[in-house]
Amino acid sequence: MTLATPTALIAEDEPLLALGLQAELNKLWPELKIAALAGDGHGAVAQALALRPSVCFFDIRMPGLTGLEAAQALAEDWPDGRDFPLLVFVTAYDQYALQAFEAQAVDYLVKPVEPARLAACTERLKKRLSAAANAAAPEGLDRTLEQLRALLGANPAAAATPQPKLDVIQASAGNLVHMVPIDEVLYFEAADKYLRVVTTEREHLIRLSLRELLPQVDPQKFWQVHRSLVVRASAITTALRDESGKVILTLRGRPEKLTASRLYAHLFKGM
């Protein structure tokens, strides 16, 4: 997109604030075309994947997915070989998030957005867009992946207050409750509002989110390899990195292959 018009996506659940940011950006950076406004996290990811903007403004607190979760989803599903959008996070007040952004040199804006601050932000974005256009390699994604990894943490939930670990998963099917020892579980996969619990012989559905599960399993044994996938490390037989940066995993005792996203590819390297 060397000389193409820069485009932007604004993800903000408060309509006035979305309009306001759009108007300010229009004033400060008239060439920037606002490709879309999204009101929730899922919409933001879908629109960004469809429109492939050069810049994304993500509100942190949004319904559906938070701004950070949306960024993670975008990084994982981003098509190969395309320039990854520059990310700017927007938040009203969250000193912990701000500290993290500061530490990772991630672009962020604080609401109410001061014009001077926004002007500085757009100048930086312009510079980075032209630098990316001149450089041959798409280094944008690598840099973003590193920042996101740091922001999300290797296993974000485990960093919070430790919770008692699960020994047995209780999966109900009608009136029957299956007691599945955690040691038999090969992997967990998020599916809509449910979680697939997969063992060698069979699989179960439980009503739990991956976010709720993570603090309850041993992070040494179970690795998150995708925003919707947690795998028992000892059940993985091989890991093969493809050219797009994803890693294909084969499992002991299961025929299917799993895909670790770019965000977690760094977990699989030779000793």
């Binding site: 659940d13 309509p15 999300l152 943490g153 709720e212």
Partner: protein, 382 residues
């Protein structure tokens, strides 16, 4: 009860020394009185008075501590008869009786041993016996009342500190920075788009801030005022959330004057927004209503949000929140708000008020917060 922080060893020692000194002073006074009214020399009276008094004091003081520790071992603080560090009344009477008898015998025998004099046994001399017993009872009573006074003062101080802390936390939760800055950000945009609406929004914000800052100054206000304050807050939220939020109020005219604690419903409305409707992509509605059930006032805050069963969306990744407790998925950030409502109702109405938080239980889903508090038909707010 917060008053009973365990004493430090230094404090205990200081108290013990004080009781010892007071005992010596009392013995001196008794010796002087006995000399003035009696026939024996001052030195004689002083020796016996000090020996008997000190023995009595050591036996009674020690007895009280031992028995109290033994009796109160497993008991909850509020079930301890005369207070912590004290046995029950019967125990105290027994200890004083036995202590003064034994103290008299011990003290007088000791001085007898040194001087070679034969003082009468306790039952042989009614004067010495009565003086000893009176002194023992008086002394014990004095120390007991002094300690109670001290404890009550400590309890009052602790209660004052707690009330102040609660006030501060309420204020902090109501002036939540995230809400405030988002509101200001909306206001900033609205000024250039629609100055008139911006002004109306600013008026709502001013009313909301004033009510929040004033809430701790009055203990009750009329229900109509309560609804107006909620309307201010929800009007701000309507501007922020746009079509995602629909608000309705229902306040029958005859309930407008019912007296309620100010901003009682505020944390519930805030929770409905923050944990119910804000995380829901399509938004929903919130209904605040009041109705009379007999002599009771029933207040309901109902939302059609994501409900209690789903974890609230964290503000930012937990890894960036080293200090924030994770909490069980059910109740994430709502605990302070609901605990606060519960505590206020309990403090003001005791068992006569109830508070429940439950799934709304109909097709629309969401959460229903229900408060029932007494409001006799003829009462009105001051």
């Amino acid at each position: 009860m917060l008053a009973h922080q365990p004493r430090t060893p230094a404090e205990s020692l200081r108290n013990f020394a004080f009781r010892g000194l007071m005992t010596q002073a009392m013995c001196l006074a008794i010796a002087l009185l006995l000399t003035y009214f009696g026939t024996r020399a001052l030195l004689h009276n002083l020796a016996y008075s000090l020996a008997i008094g000190t023995s009595c004091w050591l036996l009674i003081d020690g007895g009280i501590h031992l028995v109290a520790r033994f009796i109160n071992r497993g008991r909850a603080p509020q079930r301890r008869g005369l207070g912590p560090g004290w046995p029950g009344l019967a125990g105290l009477v027994a200890i004083v009786a036995v202590g003064s008898f034994a103290g008299y015998s011990l003290g007088s025998s000791l001085v007898d041993l040194v001087t070679g004099f034969h003082s009468p046994r306790l039952f042989q001399s009614s004067t010495s016996g009565i003086v000893t017993l009176l002194a023992a009872v008086g002394g014990t009573y004095f120390f007991y009342s002094r300690e109670r006074l001290h404890e009550e003062q400590a309890a009052a101080d602790a209660a004052r500190a707690l009330a102040l802390e609660n006030q501060l936390r309420l204020l902090q939760s109501q002036l939540e920075p995230h809400m405030l800055f988002n509101t200001l950000a909306n206001l900033r945009v609205l000024i250039s788009l629609d100055a008139e609406r911006a002004q109306a929004m600013l008026d709502r914000l001013i009313a909301f801030l004033r009510a929040t800052l004033n809430a701790s100054r009055v203990s009750l206000h009329p229900l109509s005022a309560e609804f107006e304050r909620l309307a201010d807050y929800l009007a701000l939220m309507e501007v922020r959330m746009g079509p995602r939020l629909r608000v309705s109020f229902e306040l029958p005219a005859d309930l407008r004057a019912c007296a309620v604690p100010p901003l009682l419903l505020q944390p519930l409305v805030e929770n409905a927004i923050k944990h119910g409707l804000e995380p829901k992509v399509e938004g929903g509605r919130i209904a605040v209503s009041a109705r009379r059930v007999g002599d009771d006032l029933q207040l309901a805050v109902r939302d059609t949000g994501i409900g209690l069963g789903t974890a609230p969306v964290p503000l930012s990744p937990p890894s960036a929140h080293p200090a924030a407790p994770a909490g069980p998925p059910l109740d994430g950030g709502t605990r302070y708000g609901t605990a606060h409502v519960r505590a206020r109702l309990e403090a003001m109405f005791g068992q006569r008020a109830t508070f429940t938080l439950q799934a709304a239980g109909d097709a629309e889903g969401g959460t229903l917060a229900l408060i029932v508090l007494p409001c006799p038909a003829d009462t009105a707010a001051p």
